[in-house]
């Protein structure tokens, strides 16, 4: 059995200029009219690649998340999967009946009643009249709009509109479902209902591609996640790691054009206090390693984590105090340690250059993403040599339920410290 979706080096270009777009559209149509292939593999003036050389496969029954910042090309990609746009380069192969929720209620006509729209929209999505008749009650039940079904949809609230649209789309019984950011409109109750419905369809072997900005939803229901950035595929794999990269993409200041997968395991500075510290110690980025000394950014709840801080100083710093704390995505400090060097026999001074390694045998941070607040002080907590926040890394629990939030406001996990270099 072949894979439901095969995307092979797919690219799509668009024009930035409307008049140029009209001209190019006309040229392409003229060429095609006379049976000539329109040139599609190179850019003309004022064109750009909206999707650039993307390849991945989706397995049967898999749920694949597709995330990226605004304008990264994920919706264009989804429209190509649905056959609304055709790729300019590469090839997409689809095996199975596709249902798409690019925009809920896109085929609705404002003047028609909900009932009439169910039939029209159902037909657009490829359902026969008998099929719709058979599922009508189920659609009505799911949409939960009661007597309003015989009212023109222009009088519907936006919530009712979306509920009806979604209800029709999930009743098409697709083998492949493409969902584009549609859940964000409904209320909590409806979202829960949709997610339950998706879970039910997944159990029946539905393959799904989900586009969303909501990393929580993507993480909780995807098997794998693809990150798209500026039209290019940046990452494919573990949802947690993917969401992490996506978060980095959204914080523009720290991640420029050159952000590549090679330094993805490093935590850059996400916040600093200019003028606060004397800058006698300088630290550019830190990285985390697991028990095998491998760099990672996603850790299990009770995994061993070593925080590596490569530093440089102008002069030798004596008896420093290191303060380290972990701040979760809501900005709450979840755990912290104050490390006084004079209590540690082996290391009383920071030499000119080296790596501070702080090992937590069990960090026990709940599932969330965290930034690390790291600062170096003199022994009296008076002068600050360095202070910044580094971000981000994530933790996850091994058990199925996602536990989030703060377990203990500030707990001091056991640690050990040593200096390298």
């Amino acid at each position: 059995m072949s894979k439901p979706i095969i995307i092979d080096k797919v690219s799509k270009k668009f024009s930035k200029n409307l008049k140029k777009s009209m001209l190019y559209g006309m040229t392409d149509i003229m060429l095609n009219t006379f049976g000539i292939n329109a040139p599609s593999d190179r850019l003309r003036k004022e064109e750009f690649w909206a999707v650039d050389d993307v390849s991945f496969d989706v397995e049967k029954g898999e749920t694949l998340g597709l995330i990226g910042v605004n304008g990264s090309g994920k919706s264009t990609l989804l429209k190509m999967l649905n056959g609304i746009y055709y790729p300019d380069k590469g090839k997409i192969t689809i095996n199975g009946r596709v249902g798409a929720l690019i925009e809920v209620g896109a085929g609705f006509h404002a003047m028609l009643t909900g009932r009439e729209n169910i039939y029209v929209n159902g037909a657009i999505l490829g359902m026969s009249k008998q099929e719709i008749n058979k599922k009508f009650d189920s659609i009505l039940d799911f949409a939960d709009i009661g007597d309003f079904i015989d009212m023109p949809v222009k009088f519907y609230s936006s919530g009712m509109f979306v509920r009806l649209g979604f209800a029709i789309a999930v009743h098409v019984e697709p083998e492949i479902l493409l969902v584009d950011e549609v859940l964000s409109v409904g209320d909590a109750n409806f979202r829960r209902k949709c997610i339950n419905k998706m879970a039910e369809l997944r159990k029946q072997g539905l393959t799904m591609i989900l586009v969303s900005h909501d990393t929580q939803t993507v993480q909780s229901i995807s098997n794998r996640v693809v990150v798209i950035h500026k039209g290019k595929m940046q990452f494919v794999g573990d949802p947690m790691e993917a969401c992490h990269i996506y978060e980095l993409n959204t914080s523009k200041d720290n991640v420029g054009e050159d952000f590549s997968l090679t330094n993805k395991n490093h935590l850059p500075i996400v916040m600093s206090y200019p003028g606060f510290s004397s800058k006698e110690v300088s630290i550019d980025e830190i990285y985390l390693t697991d028990m095998n000394d491998d760099k990672k950014i996603v850790y299990n709840y009770d995994e061993e984590v070593t925080i590596n801080v490569p530093y440089k100083t102008e002069s030798i710093v004596k008896n420093p105090v290191i303060k380290i704390s972990f701040i979760n995505s809501s900005g709450i400090v979840c755990m912290g340690s104050v490390i006084k060097f004079q209590n540690i026999k082996d290391i009383e001074v920071l030499p000119n250059e080296g790596i501070i390694k702080i090992k937590y045998p069990k960090m026990q941070l709940n599932t969330d993403k965290y930034k690390i607040s790291f600062s170096i002080w003199d022994s009296f907590h008076q002068a600050n040599y360095f202070s910044a926040h580094f971000g981000w890394f994530s933790t996850k629990a091994d058990w199925p339920a996602v536990i989030s939030g703060v377990n203990t406001p500030v707990c001091y996990a056991p640690y050990s410290i040593r200096l390298d270099g």
Binding site: S2, F14, S21, M22, G25, M26, D28, I29, N32, T33, G35, I36, N37, A38, S40, D41, K79, M80, N82, G83, I84, Y85, Y86, P87, D88, K89, G90, K91, I92, T93, I94, N95, G96, R97, V98, A100, I102, E103, A106, G107, H109, M111, L112, E116, Y119, V120, A123, I124, L125, G126, S128, K129
Partner: protein, 283 residues
């Protein structure tokens, strides 16, 4: 194209012209046969929506042709305009002419606006765009059928017995519909790119109605020479000749025009299918 009942689909650039002509013909037929239900849904939707929020409702179908015919009758009677004599009662002559003309002009105008009007849907849902064109043509045809009731009423009022040749009229009407659909295919796509097309065609149509023998016969002058190359002259006069046993245009020419229309329809339908994938990205 839609994905109904087709298990494996591939998408790549210039997809349609890389396919062979039989494959293209198959896709053309597929979009009609597999999606006939959708065409009917669109058709019903358009008709319902058009007359739903109006008091006179379907009466509007009659009002426009009746007013224009009355206008010409009054002009003729008062001597402002001197129309040439026709061998049948003038209202009957005019109503057949204008009904056929409106079948053509409405088919064209509805289909030109069909794609642009459904722009939001085209950009978000994948379905064969030709269904929109066929639904538009269907709507014009339904209105035509309703107007035919009016023709029968007028014919009965004048107690006019039609010629036996009337049995060939449906063939000419089908050709006329295919001719309008062909132009609809072409101009609807152009209208997606240049919105001017809709307005330009509207202008041309108004102009054309007066140079074509729709409401009055044209038997001499430059217009008569021009009309030798006007396919609509052959359609409209052909229908009237066959129905009333007149002899305005040679029947062989009508047959040639009908044949050419069928050919034009197939050529432009194929063109539509080929450039269809480009509609969504340019609309």
């Amino acid at each position: 194209m839609g994905n109904k009942k087709r298990s494996k689909v591939e998408y790549y650039s210039n997809l349609m012209i890389k396919k062979s002509i039989p494959e293209q013909l198959y896709i053309m037929m597929f979009s009609v046969i597999e999606f006939k239900e959708l065409i009917i849904r669109f058709l019903r939707r358009d008709i319902t929506v058009r007359y739903k929020q109006s008091i006179l409702g379907l009466l509007w179908v009659f009002i426009i042709p009746v007013i224009s015919i009355l206008f010409f009758v009054v002009l003729n009677k008062s001597g402002v305009m001197n129309l040439e004599k026709v061998n049948i009662p003038y209202p009957l002559y005019a109503i057949v002419g204008i009904t056929c003309w409106q079948l053509f002009s409405n088919s064209l105008m509805y289909s030109i606006n069909a794609l642009v009007g459904a722009g939001g849907m085209i950009a978000k849902i994948n379905f064969p765009k030709s269904t929109l064109i066929f639904a538009a043509i269907g709507r014009a045809f339904v209105e035509f059928l309703i107007r035919c009731v009016m023709i029968i009423a007028v014919a009965m009022y004048y107690q006019y017995i039609p010629s036996w040749k009337i049995i060939f009229v449906p063939l000419v009407i089908i050709s006329l519909i295919l001719f309008s659909t062909a132009l609809g295919f072409l101009f609807s796509i152009l209208n997606c790119i240049f919105r001017d097309i809709g307005n330009v065609i509207q202008l041309i149509m108004t102009f054309c109605m007066f140079v074509t023998p729709v409401l009055y016969p044209i038997k001499k002058g430059a217009l008569q020479i021009l009309n030798q190359y006007n396919p609509l002259n052959y359609f409209i006069n052909g229908i009237r000749d066959l129905a009333f046993g007149l002899n305005t245009v040679p029947i062989s020419s009508v047959m040639i025009v009908c044949g050419l229309s069928v050919l034009l329809f197939i050529i432009l339908w194929r063109l539509f299918i080929i450039v269809e994938p480009r509609i969504a990205e340019r609309i």
